[in-house]
Amino acid sequence: MRSCARHLIQIGVLIVERVCSVSVLLTNCSFSYGKEISVLRGLSVEFGQGATVLLGPNGAGKSTLLALVVGLLMPDAGTVVVNGMGSHVRRERARYRRAVGWLPQQVAAVPGLTVRQQVAYAGWLKGLSKGDAWGRTVDALRRVGLADLADRPSTALSGGQLRRVGIAQTLVHDAQLIVMDEPSAGLDPIQRRGLRSALNAVAGDVDVIVSTHQTEDISEIYQHVVVLNAGTVRYHGSVTGFLGFAESGADVSRRAEDAYTQLIGAED
């Protein structure tokens, strides 16, 4: 009797741990652009706490999936839940959107605004009062290493600096989850290093989902890997488990490429 009770308690603890460790939960999500182009079909996947990298070839549905998580798109069927809030629940929509920070593929500079103004404006758009938005801007810029450029016009920044402005925009409203769509695309190695350090600086405090094609630094930043192909999940688990798909012996970067190729099932 006692061992049965202990067993039940253990099961309960496991369930609670599992529920609490899930940051984003997509259940049976389908999405089509118009009637012709079906991108996701009954996709179910969960993103745990910490940093998750989303891998997949072009056209796999990564950007669509992320747009569903951010709340920019609504699934045709299924639900998206972030920290217990459903994107489909109208009365929770503002809270949901404020909890999720979004860094699109191209972070645009708003003409006429300085870096500080752009970050504060992003905070205001996410529901902060103007006073709060201005107040939090300094800290957000400091965290991404842009405090020195606060008064520079945002149009005068490089691509890598703009991505960091984008991260600061997500930090200013205290997002619980930051979603980034190919943040390192088009950046040179030095800019990528700056972005990586900014990403490392925030990844400890909030949950992060990053879609990327870069696999070389996968074990440095991320705890989880999700591989998507043709709208379906090919792999979902730890980095170690992901690297296990590769032939052993090579360095981490090569193993990651190898594992990715094995999972996607194409090599040329």
Partner: protein, 311 residues
């Protein structure tokens, strides 16, 4: 409270200067056809100057819409409702519009400065609303089109919508744009209430439709179109009976006094009653002769008590 955008990056900062200059330049010709000493006429004539104000404000709106577009703000998954974002973005442009309308009315005001009563606030309200609608359309074009298209189209569209309806039939078309009051008013007329309501409905419909369309989504786009069609249809129904001019007879009747002739004057003319009375009596005298001179002397002396009473 600090604003997010610097003044130097805004179009309205620079456009307000030509706006003021053009309004002041055009004020002279606009005053030529005014009914002096009558507030509704003075305020109504101000709409001849708003042909400049509204298109310039529309360009400023298009510029701000372009900043929204180039900043990719639509993709920021924002929490604020669109009307708050637009209001924040267009605040200074709306101030520019208010300055333009105030200046247009202000330069016409001396023509009615000594008249009893106050400027017609209904007309001023319609002007502000109509210019706001032009700004919103400009903003929408700025969001939806590239700046190279949005700026000239908003300028042209604004000007054509103001100027062209007056040149075509049916007549009701011209009473929908809020600028059909330039022929208003002689002293026995006031601006037509139907034209005021019609213009207000169209302007409100445009503002609501643009805000809905900017909020995104196919359903909202359909709602925007439906809102505009409904408002436009209601406005057409209201202005349908109007003729070419947006005037209607003034309420009440002039105050009559005296006999042979009885002088019936509106309150704005009361100050001149003595002079009019004297002129009327002189005009009744026969051709120059000793008898006519006596008649004129009598007429002049008869008018004096009135003048003395007024002083």
């Amino acid at each position: 409270m600090r604003t997010f955008s610097a003044w130097r990056g805004r179009a309205d900062t620079y456009l307000v200067v030509p706006l003021v200059v053009l309004v002041l330049l055009l004020a002279g010709p606009a005053k030529e056809f005014i009914t002096y000493g009558y507030w509704p006429a003075a305020v109504a004539k101000a709409d001849m100057l708003l042909y400049v104000v509204a298109p310039l404000c529309a360009i400023a709106g298009a510029w701000e819409g372009g900043r929204f577009r180039r900043g990719g703000i639509r993709c920021w998954a924002v929490v604020r409702p669109m009307w708050r974002i637009v209001l924040n973005s267009l605040g200074p442009t709306l101030v520019m519009a208010a300055v333009g309308v105030a200046l247009a009315v202000g330069v016409m005001a001396p023509a009615a400065a000594s008249a009893p009563g106050l400027p017609d606030v209904r007309l001023i309200g319609v002007y502000l609303l109509v210019v706001t609608a032009h700004i919103l359309v400009g903003y929408g074009l700025g969001v939806w089109l590239a700046p190279a298209l949005a700026l000239p189209i908003s300028l042209g569209l604004s000007y054509v919508w103001l100027a062209y309806p007056a040149a075509i039939e049916p007549f009701w078309v011209r009473h929908l744009n809020g600028f059909s009051f330039e022929s208003c008013c002689n002293i026995a007329d006031v601006p037509a209430t139907r034209a005021l309501i019609g213009s207000t409905l169209v302007a409100l419909g445009v503002v609501a439709a643009v805000l809905l369309a900017l909020s995104g989504g196919r359903r909202l786009l359909a709602g925007a179109a439906a809102t505009f069609v409904l408002a436009f249809g209601a406005a057409v129904t209201v202005v349908w009976p109007l003729g070419p001019e947006a005037n209607q007879p003034r309420a009440g009747s002039p105050r009559c006094a005296g006999d042979r002739p009885a002088l019936c004057l509106w309150p704005e003319q009361e100050a001149a009653r003595g002079r009019i009375d004297a002129a009327a009596r002189v005009s009744r005298c026969p051709a120059p002769s000793p008898r006519a001179e006596a008649c004129r002397t009598q007429s002049t002396s008869a008018s004096r008590p009135i003048r003395r009473r007024r002083t």
